[in-house]
Symmetry: C2
Subunit: 105 residues, 2 copies
């Protein structure tokens, strides 16, 4: 296990949302920012990385409220990555909690 998890949190959140339905980037920023503040400059590069890693596919759809939306759809590979990351996140939290509760002194 690895402190790299800090990086994984946002990835985990995005994969978790995409595991339930398709979202477009701007929408992801809005949803996630309700709980954990993030900016567009963070999510777009991440989504591009997800696509290049085969975790998501994309398609465009017209919008009546502005420019076309690029929707992201999770792949089987993305689902696998999601399940793995979720387990790692849970064990990371356990590790941190152990430290915070003083189990290791």
């Amino acid at each position: 296990m690895n402190i790299q998890f800090k990086k994984g949190v946002l990835e985990l959140c995005v994969l978790s949302l995409l595991d339930r339905k398709d979202f477009y980037g701007y929408e992801l920023v809005e949803k996630i920012s309700k709980f954990v503040n993030i900016s567009e400059g963070t999510i777009y590069p991440l989504l591009r990385r997800f696509r290049s890693e085969g975790y998501v596919t994309t398609y465009l759809e017209e919008s009546q409220e502005g420019p076309p939306r690029k929707y992201y759809s999770i792949t089987n590979q993305g689902k696998e990555a999601y399940e793995k990351l979720k387990l790692e996140w849970e064990s990371f939290i356990d590790g941190v909690n152990n430290i915070l509760r003083g189990e290791l002194i």
Copy 2:
């Protein structure tokens, strides 16, 4: 609340340990690495930052097993920062859990 928390995890762990007793840097790496892998190149700059921020004071003590140890002792200011960070961490975890449980769709 803020995704900056990823960065805060290590700080939180270190403050949590120092809140119970004094540690020297190398010892902190050993303890924390049992649960969350970190390296010395990470902890020493952090400890120096803590000292410059007034969160800790330091003192040297001889060792029978090697070079002198630099012990870190938490200050009242450090304790306050710790309590604050702990609350923020807990609410961050809640935020992430909300997202993972799909409370926001």
